[in-house]
Symmetry: C2
Subunit: 233 residues, 2 copies
DNA sequence: CTGGATCAGATTATACATTATCTGGAATAG
DNA sequence: CTATTCCAGATAATGTATAATCTGATCCAG
């Protein structure tokens, strides 16, 4: 088995600057995503510093990073709060994905080499082999699949935007499971996508990706809705 | 004459957190855009603090903000550098605009009220009246024109993304002038856009906006190219 | 209800410890 | 002799600690 840790496209970690800042960023982000930090909960710099055994400087940096990705809302002189990871948040993000990914895909179709195809097929094979048994692994592989396509895009801004959003969605969807229907759909779409790429069908591939992202977003939203209903009912 | 200062869509200043941080952000950003700071020039925290009469903390924050918007590149343990505002940078940004603005427009067409139309026409009248005489004023009005359309979009992420990019392009294009051809084109497209909105022609409006943004980006790029050629030759 | 006291906590200011990177030149291999 | 390696110092980022200010929010007396 090869490694399957999802790597960000070359040269674009969320790296703000510092080391601690980065790890703090991850820690706090996980706390937010996992729900250990309530929606709208206040993030007091001093407390965070104490809790994570650092000084306030790295904390502030981490909060800035988190703000940049929308996990935290900061108001001047009033500090930071946990942004509710609600349906609107997720919808906003994946809607932007629906706009951007097709464009990235279109370009990729025109640039794909036989080696790229091989890579895609390899990853897809691993996805099928795993067949959603290991959710984390699936997530990594699926991300890798798309990364292969977008990684070399000339528009670094767009690629980075994609990656950041991807990370958010991945983090959120970790909380849920794939329905059987969605599993089948994902497989189908990936296979079809590879086919289109082989045939150089840029437009069809772009359209398919739009659907793929749309479907993925919709799926997560429905899970969130269901979870919320369960909580309420 | 009414005021015409371009306002960000409700509730989305670049406000990272602090007051000084924000103003520093603006000062440094202007230095970068205006070229007072060379491309790739190193931004030494201590120096900036001294130059702006503050301590290092606000400077660090400002740099983070600037990084978030792409004006500055930070590498761990090596500090910040001015990101070259080159053609690639501009292209990346406006290409994303081409993807996002049509979607925002499409939605607006379905939501526009008679009051919105009136507002658009008023702003357009001011644009025509000014007729590019005052470049800054044109920029403000043009921004306002688009802000009216995107301001109330439910996807705050997308709207914010638009606004940030808008600010960048506006800042960059301040350095150049509109060609006569471009002026005519802008007027034409705005008028046509209003027309489409009135008729509820969402698709046509979206397409037009795509062209509008594309043309605007292309125009700036050509100006940059020309300026560079002039510098070189 | 209004103006002021009070408090929590953000923001800013300093000073310093620690650490990573860079630089010029000596030492060394080839 | 030239090129690479290595190393001491300089430079500046990053992190820690503390204190001074400033803001916004809350509480209370009038």
């Amino acid at each position: 088995m090869t490694d399957f840790k999802a790597q960000p496209p070359a040269g674009m970690e969320p790296t703000g600057a510092s080391t601690q800042g980065d790890s703090l960023y991850e820690l706090i982000r996980d706390d937010i995503i996992s729900g250990r930090l309530q929606a709208n909960e206040r993030l007091v710099v001093a407390d965070l510093a104490k809790r994570h055994n650092t000084s306030t400087n790295p904390v502030r940096e981490a909060l800035q990073l988190l703000r940049g990705e929308g996990f935290v809302v900061i108001s001047p002189n009033r500090g930071a709060r946990v942004r509710p990871i609600d349906q609107n948040f997720v919808r906003d993000i994946y809607e932007i994905g629906v706009l951007i990914e097709p464009a990235l895909t279109r370009w990729f179709v025109g640039m794909a080499t036989p080696e790229d195809i091989v890579q895609l097929e390899q990853v897809q094979a691993q996805i099928e082999e795993n067949n959603f048994a290991d959710a984390i692994r699936h997530s990594e592989l699926d991300t890798r699949f798309h990364t292969i396509m977008y990684e070399r895009h000339y528009n670094r801004h767009a690629a980075e935007l994609w990656w950041r959003h991807r990370e958010v969605l991945r983090a959120v969807s970790r909380r849920y499971n794939f329905t059987l229907a969605r599993r089948a759909q994902v497989m189908r779409e990936h296979r079809q996508l590879i086919q289109f790429i082989k045939e150089g069908e840029a437009e069809k591939a772009a359209l398919l990706v739009a659907q793929h992202v749309e479907g993925s977003g919709r799926h997560v939203l429905e899970q969130m809705r269901a979870a919320e209903a369960a909580r309420a009912g």
